[in-house]
């Protein structure tokens, strides 16, 4: 699959934003490390919402006809893309109610209920983002429950690293935040490792024989029938060399998981302080972006079978 940068930016930024917001609610509810002040909570919430809004806006850049984008909320019952949009739109006012109830010292029950609902909606929205890809039967590398699991784990991992940065800047006791980040980042790393292991084996997938129905003999492409590329070759023809993909997987693990892990140790040992927390957050986001690029680059659509691939 052709990796579109607007979609990569959208999924990474909105994932981190949704993760940050729901973990911010947890930090507020349990008063982790002494608890953020009102102003700090509102600032953190607005940063999270900013990430989500910028992500959603950038996602409209890959639309060829964005003037019809408002219609995307209409097929909630069947389309995961529509569901994602609807959930994100319901998330926004609830998040604003939560932040408002903090800012204007509203009653505790309003703050807790709106915060809880916002956190749940954030989870559901990121799950929907993953399901957009996981529900496609045409791409074996995506059609697995590991995909929404990866989207959730990586979104919450980058969100937790951003929250840790906030805790360091706010001068809170960082121990609970470090523990939370360490847990979520390790879960994300393990899930990603399982995913890479899973897509490595060919599995049960269509072949050029089932694609053409000529199943009793070897089939090979003689001619694609087009002079230059087509929409299909531009959208689905992208291929990445196995060696390059392997190298990028190392980058994902070093940048996305190992470096933030090392920085967590530094913050825990009171070394580096803010710089270490900033490096952890940026490395987490960069790792997620490389992971997302690879997620697209490694996906092989079955239409490639008609263009000569023996299996996908």
């Amino acid at each position: 699959m052709h990796p579109a940068f607007s979609v990569i930016f959208f999924t990474v930024a909105s994932g981190a934003g949704f993760g940050l917001f729901s973990l911010l609610f947890l930090a507020d509810f349990f008063k982790l490390g002494g608890g953020f002040s009102q102003d700090q909570l509102v600032a953190g919430g607005l940063i999270a919402m900013g990430l989500v809004v910028f992500g959603l806006l950038s996602s409209t850049f890959h639309l060829a006809n964005p003037k019809n984008a408002w219609r995307a909320f209409s097929r909630f019952r069947t389309s995961w893309l529509s569901r994602e949009g609807v959930f994100a739109m319901v998330f926004m006012p609830l998040a604003l109610i939560y932040l408002g109830s903090i800012m204007f010292d509203a009653s505790q029950w309003l703050r807790v209920i709106s915060g809880f609902l916002t956190a749940v909606l954030a989870w559901i929205t990121v799950f929907s983002t993953g399901m957009i890809y996981a529900c496609l039967k045409t791409i074996r590398q995506w059609n697995t429950p590991l995909v929404p699991a990866n989207y959730l784990a990586l979104g919450y991992a980058s969100g937790s690293l951003l929250l840790l940065l906030g805790a360091v800047v706010a001068g809170l006791d960082t121990t609970p935040y470090i523990a939370m980040s360490a847990l979520i980042v390790s879960i994300a790393a393990v899930l990603k490792a399982i995913y890479y292991f899973w897509i490595h084996s060919p599995g049960l997938s269509p072949t050029i024989n089932t694609a053409t129905g000529l199943t009793r003999a070897k089939v090979k492409l003689l001619d694609t029938g087009h002079t230059h590329g087509t929409f299909l070759t531009q959208e689905f023809g992208f291929q990445i060399a196995r060696q390059k993909a392997g190298l990028l997987k190392v980058v994902v693990f070093v940048l996305g998981f190992a470096l933030p892990g090392l920085m967590l140790v530094w913050v825990f040992n009171q070394q580096g302080g803010q710089t270490a927390a900033i490096i952890a957050a940026l490395a987490g986001l960069a790792g997620a972006a490389v992971e997302r690029w690879l997620f697209f680059a490694e996906a092989r659509h079955v239409v490639n079978l008609y263009h000569g691939a023996q299996r996908c």
């Binding site: 053409t212 070897k218 087009h226 590329g229």
Partner: protein
């Protein structure tokens, strides 16, 4: 009704006439235009509803070239319809034709990702997705003579490799042909239930040739000498 095509892989000669006729009709049809990019340039490309590929099955000396026209299969369980977030993509309940409402499409490409047959192509000039309409603006046209109320590709095919009809009717020509010739759908394992069916290449009887005449003593010596000589 469940309208669709039958494509005979045995007689298709790979002339691309169906693709040309399709483009000619649909460029000015309900879903047109079908934009071309650099039609006379170095990298000609564009939107087509019909694409013909050419394959070789088996290996020499049993090999055979198979010409393979493909267009929208008008699937029964069309994921391209269910994944569409705007409702632009729809399947007509009355005849099973899958269509795209050009006024609703936002050009997100998601339906093309869901289609395993590569039937959907984005038109860069209008920013909308386009696909085979089964010539919906032709097959119901009361102004045309009855025999011309068929998709342009079917009418034009010089080898009669394409048939159009109703698969819900077990006695229709398409249903009977598929039964008799063991027609098959493409990629059935994905469970899209495509309506269009393909007829396999026939097994042709081996054409008998006369046995090689014996050449006598002179020929035998020649052959023996040929085997001895190293070239």
């Amino acid at each position: 009704m469940r309208l669709g095509l039958v494509i005979d892989l045995d007689v298709c000669v790979g002339c691309h006439a169906c693709a040309i006729a399709c483009k000619e009709w649909n460029a000015s049809g309900t879903i047109g235009p079908l934009s071309d990019y650099q039609p006379y340039g170095a990298e000609p490309s564009g939107v087509w509803f019909n694409r013909i590929r050419h394959y070789e099955m088996d290996e020499y000396p049993n090999n055979k070239t198979v010409n393979f026209p493909m267009s929208c299969m008008h699937c029964e369980d069309a994921d391209c319809v269910t994944v569409c977030p705007t409702g632009a993509s729809y399947k007509r309940p009355e005849d099973g034709i899958v269509l795209i409402d050009q006024d609703k499409c936002m050009g997100c490409n998601y339906c093309s990702w869901a289609c395993p047959y590569g039937a959907r192509e984005l038109d860069r000039s209008s920013g909308t997705m386009k696909k085979c309409t089964l010539c919906v603006d032709r097959i119901y046209d009361q102004d045309l003579p009855v025999e011309e109320r068929q998709p342009a590709c079917v009418l034009t095919c010089p080898a009669h490799a394409r048939m159009f009809g109703d698969f819900d009717d077990p006695d229709s020509a398409v249903s009977r042909t598929v039964r008799e010739r063991s027609g098959f759908p493409l990629m059935p394992e994905l469970n899209y239930n495509p309506t269009n069916q393909y007829l396999p290449p026939r097994r042709m009887p081996v054409i008998p040739v006369d046995a090689k005449p014996r050449g006598g003593l002179k020929e035998s010596i020649k052959q023996f000498a040929n085997k001895l000589v190293r070239r």
